[in-house]
């Protein structure tokens, strides 16, 4: 990997990564972020993550990226899952069990309908 030596080089990395982070101009149509802090994992985030990956695979969805993040603060509602479809405000869901995760994939990812009863927050944290 090339070593960073100047502001310009740092800016280049920033610009490239920012596009991915904000879901702009990427080949994917969206991303799913599973919070994997200790609080999330203790509440079952690993099972949730597995369920999401499996449900996406079962439905042959290959244009969603699935990534992890840390605790966003509202540990009470862990496991939390953020669904960020390109061009839309991100939606954060709480108490996402594997079963609810499959529902989110079916309703939100496949049918474009927000699962309102699980929603904790709309918009950026």
């Amino acid at each position: 990997m090339a070593k960073v030596k100047s502001l310009e080089e740092l800016m280049k990395i920033k610009e490239k990564s920012l596009k991915d982070l904000q879901m702009r101009d990427t080949e994917k149509k969206g991303k799913i972020v599973v919070a994997m802090g200790t609080c999330g994992i203790a509440a079952g985030a690993k099972d949730t993550l597995q369920a999401i990956v499996r449900e996406l695979a079962d439905n042959k969805v290959d244009d969603m990226s699935v990534v992890q993040s840390g605790c966003m603060g509202l540990c009470e509602v862990e496991p939390t899952v953020e669904v960020h479809m390109e061009g839309q405000a991100p939606i954060i869901y709480g108490h996402v069990t594997p079963e609810q995760a499959r529902r989110i994939v079916q309703q939100h990812i496949l049918s474009g309908k927000v699962v309102s009863d699980l929603m904790v927050k709309k918009g950026e944290i």
Binding site: M1, K3, V4, K5, S6, L7, L10, I13, K14, K16, S17, L18, D20, L21, Q22, V33, A35, M36, G37, T38, C39, I41, V67, Q68, S69, G70, C71, M72, G73, L74, C75, E76, T80, G87, Q88, A89, I91, G94, G112, K113, V114, S116, D117, M119, V120, K121, K122, G123, E124, I125
Partner: protein, 620 residues
């Protein structure tokens, strides 16, 4: 606020975002697929017609938006500037909304959106959920936003730009000056000015110096440092390199407890990635400055959070405090000048460098600048981690951010500062939370743990819990802490067992003060605080235990007994079946009885009784 704005940290300070839209009224009507199918278009027509009827079409802007998310409650509308959220609209509702809300400024209660989880009516836009809006995220700016295992995402959020600025544009003196001007104080609890600490370390002569990060988070109910390291490890790494440059150190240690494996994993990966980019290690960004870091795992002794004990432990010795002076800035790790800061303190530094000290001083109070991360634990609805401007009132933290006390119970007190702090009772709910104010009522800011207690909590029992923690964790080096706390604990145990005597409270006060005056380290000097502070605010509870052998909160097992009200008991046998010690007797459809001699006061019977026939009685 657009996504791009969000990445510049300056815009995350409380921004007048509602006012910006306030020039005229704006109505956002959800035109997502679901709302269209539930009648959005006819609502829009009716709205336009009604606006024209009242000649408002030129001052009220109507915008159709994409899906707002709560499709079940559609058609939906948000009315700005207030951000009032209306749901399940019909064309016939438009007349009322225009004439009542727009013309008279009265909210149409019957159409307000109801939060599905809290059943609370929302009078502002959904992303203004109070849990999030009252927060100002500086130290936790990236937590839950970026992938902690991706340095690129950290860079995307201005990561390592502060290190670049420091190495290529600033002298060490300028860095220290920036920190001093920012007013940043140590977030580990004591609140020592960070810039001054850096300056003291820089001024001590010596070729070899060290930078430490204290991640030995030990207070019960505190998990700020773990969450920051798990969610955003690079913010701490970047700040430690900046610290190394400023004080003249090439080597650092992160002292972290082995119970935090995930944080250790992410830190280790972070160091590796940063080195690959040349942002860590040898000759960082070609500046000639080198900085490397080692992770030292602690075995979980609370005392190792005390800086001199931490230094002993880093050196591989048993964690016991040293006598100060000399301070770590003079003689720290391997007797070399050492800078030691807490995780959260470090996480604040990159944004301060990038945005300037003036930006930071705009947040907080006169003497305490910036924000503080708190962990909400115990009897509070929204358990979790929040970052709020210093000076916010406790009431806002409890009721707005924390969502209040669960099960319709009332707030009794909150313990801040863990076993070194004290409690804040309900009468001080409107007190601003800052270093100085908390000290005036005998507690402290501490590292940020907040343990909430409701009316069912016995304050003598709470004091006993925290004191037991200090007894267990005392390193044993000095007598006041090792023996004094044990004696205090024995007195508390007597009191909660119903064997308290007149004079016990005074004995606790005298002994506590002696421990404060004569202990060696900061932890010993603060260990009696939970007892002294509960005596200060809840002396009547101590007196009830001692004089009346009564536990007002009905917690202390020796002072309560369980009783079945025979007029309410239907003899369903549920309690008898669940009792683990067979203390309950009685036959089917006949009132049952509890034998207090056998009963262990476990409370299982109360939980299963569906008739409210079982209660706790104190005194026995």
């Amino acid at each position: 606020m657009s996504a791009t704005d969000k990445t510049s940290i300056a815009s995350e300070a409380p921004a007048p975002r509602v006012e910006a839209r306030a020039a005229t009224n704006t109505i956002l009507l959800c035109a997502g697929g679901a709302c269209i199918s539930s009648g959005e278009e006819s609502c829009l027509q009716a709205l336009r017609a009604t606006l024209e009827k009242y000649a408002l079409q030129d001052v009220v802007k109507v915008v159709e938006t994409g899906c707002m998310g709560m499709c079940d409650a559609g058609p939906l509308m948000i009315l700005y500037p207030e951000g009032v959220f209306y749901q399940k609209l019909k064309p016939s509702d438009m007349e009322q909304i225009v004439s009542e809300h727009l013309l008279k400024g009265r909210i149409v209660e019957s159409k307000l959106f109801v939060d599905p989880s809290t059943k609370v009516k929302i009078t502002s836009a959904y992303d203004d959920h109070p849990f999030f809006t009252k927060q100002v995220k500086i130290a936790t700016r990236n937590m839950g936003v970026i992938d902690p295992m991706s340095i690129e995402e950290y860079i995307a959020r201005d990561g390592y730009f502060a290190l670049r600025k420091v190495l290529q544009e600033m002298t060490p003196e300028q860095v220290i000056d920036t920190l001093k001007k920012s007013g940043l104080r140590g977030r580990g609890g004591a609140g020592f000015p960070t810039g001054l600490k850096w300056e003291l370390t820089r001024k001590v002569p010596g070729k070899e110096k060290f930078v430490l990060c204290n991640a030995d988070e030990g207070d019960p109910g505190a998990f700020m440092d773990r969450s920051i390291l798990e969610g955003d490890p690079h913010s701490v790494l970047e700040a430690m390199a900046i610290a190394g440059y400023a004080v003249g150190a090439q080597k650092g240690y992160v002292y972290i407890r082995a119970e935090y494996p995930l944080a250790i994993e992410r830190l280790t990966e972070g160091i590796k990635q940063a080195k690959e980019y040349g942002l860590f290690g040898e000759n960082i960004m070609g500046s000639g400055f080198s900085f490397d870091l080692e992770i030292r795992m602690g075995a979980g002794a609370f005392v190792c959070g005390e800086e001199t004990a931490l230094i002993e432990s880093v050196e591989g010795k048993r964690g016991q405090p040293r006598v100060k002076p000399p301070f770590p800035a003079q003689k720290g790790v391997w007797n070399k000048p050492t800078l030691n800061n807490n995780v959260e303190t470090y996480a604040n530094i990159p944004p301060i460098i990038l945005n300037g000290p003036e930006w930071f001083t705009r947040i907080g109070t006169e003497k305490s600048k910036g924000t503080k991360v708190f962990c909400l634990a115990g009897k509070i609805k929204n358990t979790g981690l929040v970052e709020v401007p210093i000076g916010i009132t406790l009431r806002e933290v409890v009721y707005d951010i924390g969502g209040g006390i669960p099960n319709n119970k009332s707030f009794k007190a909150v313990q801040t500062g863990g076993p070194s702090g004290g409690c804040i009772p309900a009468e001080h709910l409107d007190m601003p939370i800052d270093y100085e104010t908390l000290k005036t009522i005998g507690t402290m800011m501490g590292s940020g743990g907040m343990v909430f207690m409701d009316e069912d909590t016995c304050m003598v029992d709470v004091a006993k819990f925290f004191l037991q923690f200090s007894v267990d964790e005392s390193c044993g080096k000095c007598t006041p802490c090792r023996e004094g706390n044990r004696v205090m604990y024995e007195i508390l145990e007597r009191i909660t067992n119903g064997e308290g005597e007149e004079g016990d409270i005074e004995r606790l006060e005298t002994l506590g003060q002696s421990i404060i005056d004569s202990s060696l380290c900061g932890l010993g000097q603060t260990s009696p605080q939970p007892v002294l502070s509960t005596i200060r605010f809840f002396r009547d509870e101590y007196e009830a235990h001692i004089r009346e052998k009564r536990c007002p909160a009905k917690v202390c097992r020796s002072l309560i007994r369980y009783h079945i009200d025979e007029s309410k008991c239907v003899g369903c046998t549920a309690c008898a079946r669940v009792c683990p010690v067979a203390a309950i007797s009685g036959s089917l459809r006949k009132p049952h009885r509890i034998d207090p001699e056998i009963c262990t006061r476990c409370g299982s019977c109360i939980e299963v009784c569906r008739f409210g026939a079982i209660s706790k009685i104190t005194p026995i």
